[in-house]
Structures are given as C-alpha cells and as structure tokens.
C-alpha cells in the first residue's frame, strides 16, 4: 500500500544546471538528434562518439550518474534478450559450438552494437525526462507539434490530455488506495493466490475506480466549460516558451555534431 504513495510522476530531478535551464524544445530536438544518430551510425567509433555525447550531457546536467544508470533497470531484460538473440542467431564465422548452439564473430559484433545502441538510447532519453519537469515537457511538445496543425495533428488537445493525466494520476492513486482499504476491511484479499487469482481479485477494485473516474471526467468537463474553455483556438499561454542564446548554441552544436558523425562513421 505504501508503494502507491511512493510513485512519483515522471522522474524529474529538480536542479539548476545548464541543461535544466534549456528550453524544453531544445532538449526534445537534441534528444531526437541523438536517436537519429544512433540509427545512422554503423561502426564502433560512431557509437563511441554517441557515447561521448551522452556522457557529456550527463556531466553538464550535474545529475548523479548512479541515478541516470538506474533508468536502465526496467530495460535490462530487453537488453539482455537482444544481446543473446544476436549472439546466438547470427550466421558467420563460428567461434564456439556446442550441439546446435553456436557463437559467431559476427554475432558478437552485432550483439555488442545493438546492446550499445539500446543502452545509449535509454540513457539519452532519460536525461530529457530527468532534467525537464512534466509541465515543461508538455509545453515543449505542444509547441513543437503546432506547425503540424494544418495536417491534422491536434497539438493543443494532446498537451491538454497530458496535463489532465498528470493532474489526476495522484488523485486516482489516492482513490485506489481508499477503495482497496475499504474492500480489505470487508475481507477482500489482494495479496495472496497465483497471478490469475490476484488479477481476478482486482475486479472489485477496478469497477468502482472506473465509475468514479468517469464521474470525475464529467465534473471536470463542466468545470472547464464554466471557466470559458473552448479548445485551443484564441487561447494564450501563461508561460511563453522563449529560446535563449544558449538554446541556439546548443542546437547548432548538436546539429553539426550529428551530421559530421553520421556522415563520417
């Protein structure tokens, strides 16, 4: 139960580093540049440069490195699986063989490359979420998607949805806890039995939760209308995003770096 209270939304670590102060749009674009770079380069030196990029970002962000690395944990299984599949499933020069299992040189190389790519991908993107508060991230995404409006990208609506989701996650968690306690007081058991049994036991929890979520949605819609909400049209923003000199410098540096590295390697 205490677990529910400990969930923090996103993983934002407040700070005042150079990266923290960058415009969220700059950070999103720089992250996208890293992703592109990781898929464009095909050699170890190329990955070396990408790793340098990520390390430099961690250093400048002043985040505790241990905290950044912890972000890899949920993906450990996927990384190991990718590594194993590539090592054992690639054809080529056989280094070691036991029955039908064989390890090839090409497999090792590709496995290592894939592994590095995934690790750098996760580390790079987590720097974005670690240094940017959810609110700024939402503002950044909205602002970047805005040019896509003529082709039907609902930028404002997506941002609004994200904001409301962020606003209501703690409220709904609190409510879940309340319902759980109420059900437990009447003898419900959420902690024993096999997986199937436990999943079944969650039904009496989910039904009231859903009903109340719909009621909340209804109330919120009326409240928003009463406060003059009518979609993104003609709406101003409380916090205007503003590109600073450092954003220009950062974007220029990142662009040059990405292009040069991906062309050369």
């Amino acid at each position: 139960m205490a677990m529910l209270r400990n969930i923090t939304i996103g993983q934002y670590v407040p700070g005042d580093s150079w990266i923290h102060r960058l415009d969220p749009r700059t950070k999103i674009l720089a992250t996208m540049a890293l992703i592109a770079l990781l898929f464009l380069v095909q050699s170890f030196p190329g990955y070396g440069f990408a790793a340098l990029y990520v390390l430099a970002a961690v250093y400048v962000s002043k985040l505790p490195p241990r905290y950044v690395i912890r972000g890899l944990r949920p993906l450990l299984v996927i990384i190991i699986l990718t590594l194993t599949l590539h090592i054992f499933m690639t054809d080529g020069r056989v280094l070691w063989q036991w029955g039908f299992i064989s390890i090839t040189w090409e497999g090792l190389v590709r496995g290592a490359m894939m592994g590095t790519r995934l690790v750098l991908l996760v580390l790079g993107t987590s720097i974005l979420t670690l240094t940017t508060s959810p609110i700024h991230l939402t503002d950044g995404i909205e602002s970047l998607l805005k040019p896509g409006k003529p082709i039907g990208i609902p930028a404002h609506e997506l941002a609004m949805m994200m904001t409301i989701a962020l606003r209501f996650i703690p409220t709904l968690l609190e409510e879940t806890e309340k319902i759980m306690k109420a059900q437990m007081a009447r003898g419900a058991d959420f902690e024993s039995g096999n997986l199937l049994q436990r999943a079944k036991n969650l039904i009496p929890l989910l039904v009231p939760l859903f009903i109340s979520a719909f009621r909340r949605a209804d109330d919120l819609a009326v409240a928003m209308e009463a406060r003059g909400y009518r979609g993104g049209e003609g709406r101003t923003k409380f916090r205007e995003l503003q590109f600073a000199v450092r954003d220009g410098a950062c974007l220029a540096g990142v662009t040059v770096f990405t292009v040069v590295v991906s062309v050369l390697f």
Binding site: D219, A223, A226
Partner: protein, 278 residues
Amino acid sequence: MADALIEFRNVNHIYGKGTQQEWDALIDVSVSIRPGEFVAVLGHNGSGKSTLAKHANALLLPSSGCVLVDGMDTRDEETVWDIRQRVGMVFQNPDNQLVATTVEEDVAFGPENLGVPSPEIRRRVDEALLAVDMLEYRLHSPHQLSGGQKQRVAIAGMIAMRPKCIVLDEPTAMLDPVGRQEVMQTVRRLNEEENITVLHITHYMDEAIFADRILVMESGRIALEGTPAQVFSQVDTLYKLQLDVPQMTALAHRLNKRGFSLPADTLTVDELVNQLCQ
C-alpha cells in the same frame, strides 16, 4: 429592474423532456440578483437550487422563460463566453474542478481561455492568489492541498477572470469544519472588499446568516424570500420545508414556546446572549 446583474424571468427547466423521467426542476422562477449582493439559496436535495445556479452562467438553458446576465440573454450563443467571464462558478467537489498540475497554472487556466496576454496573466494570477490568501502555495500541486485550500484555489481561478459575480454550488459540502470556515471567510471578504456579487448555494443554515438575502427553494419554486431575519423567523414554515434553522434561532424558538418572549429573528450567539441578559 434595470439594475439587476442576473435576472431570472419566469424560468422553467424540465429535465428529460418527452421521456418517462420527465421532471420539472424549475417552475416559473423569477428573481433578480443586484450587483454587490450576497444571496444565499437554501433548499433540500432535489429542490432545484443547483439547477438554478447552473442557469446563471449558461451551463443550463431555460426550457422556457429567460435568464439575463448583465443584459445578455444566456440563450444567445454569441455571448455565452462573455457571460461565463462575468459569472464564475465554483463546484462542490474540490478535486474535480482543478485542471492543471500546479496551483498557479490552474488559476491561469481561465485567463488563458479568455486570451489574456501572458504578462497580464502573471499579474492576475498573483492578485487572485493573494485575494484568497494562497500565494505561498502557488507552486504546490493540487493533491498536496487540503479540501478548503483547493476550494480557495478554485475561487482564485474565478477571480483571475475578473467576474462580476461568483456562483458557489455547495462549495463546502465536502469539507471539514475548518475548510468550511476558510472558504466562507474568503467568500465574505470578496463580497465586502472587492464588491463581488455572490450567489451561494448551500444547505448549511449557518452559512446563510451572513447573506443580504435568502431564497428558499422547494420543488422547483421559490418558497420563501427575504433577509435572513425575515426568513429564519418563520421557523415552523422552514421545518415544514424539511429545513433546519440556525441553532440560535431554534433555541430562541423553543424558549419562546416555554414562555419567553425573544425576537423570532435571533441568529447568532451574541444576539441571543444580549437578549437573554436584558
């Protein structure tokens, strides 16, 4: 009455028209709210008081009759947004009306919708939070606040839109006594100092004592209307409408039955003490 801020003219509202559950929530209601007034609306559940409130800013439209806000008809689609800027509304559930992830963002939501330029929004947000005494919480997220604080933020969200009138639809029903007191103090101060018109829907009699005028609703009609003293002195009528009277009024009423002769419009402890000690 040309000087009315909100005017209900023969308003009828029928829920589920033409269905089995057809139900007349408002029947021929005519009342006008003057600028600067503090009007309390009392009534038990289902008496139509909430429906009345929702007519004041065009969230509900009359089935017949009309509602005029500052001279604008709520049925006119072109002026709906002007009406909603003039008449703010605070709802019962403090959790379900805050939109944004921080207090200041939430207060900014209304002005953002109005298209107010951002430096001006900043100013209005600070002003509004100061008015409800929540400025120090401006960077908190709503779920870190108590119920009374959330309702004050909701009120600040209205103030930032610079309304002429605030409609409060049972804002204290889900709060503890401390929260209730916080909210009522804030509302009274806004009414007295900022001269904002208040339409306060409640079923707590004690909150209605401070009103300039009380409307008592009963099955869609206005059953009683007058100053708190006029309304609460009709103790037996109120009991018939399944409503309580303020504790001190009830006490005075019972003492009178035992042979005392206290004025029937006694509302507060101080008044009763003075009268008993004479």
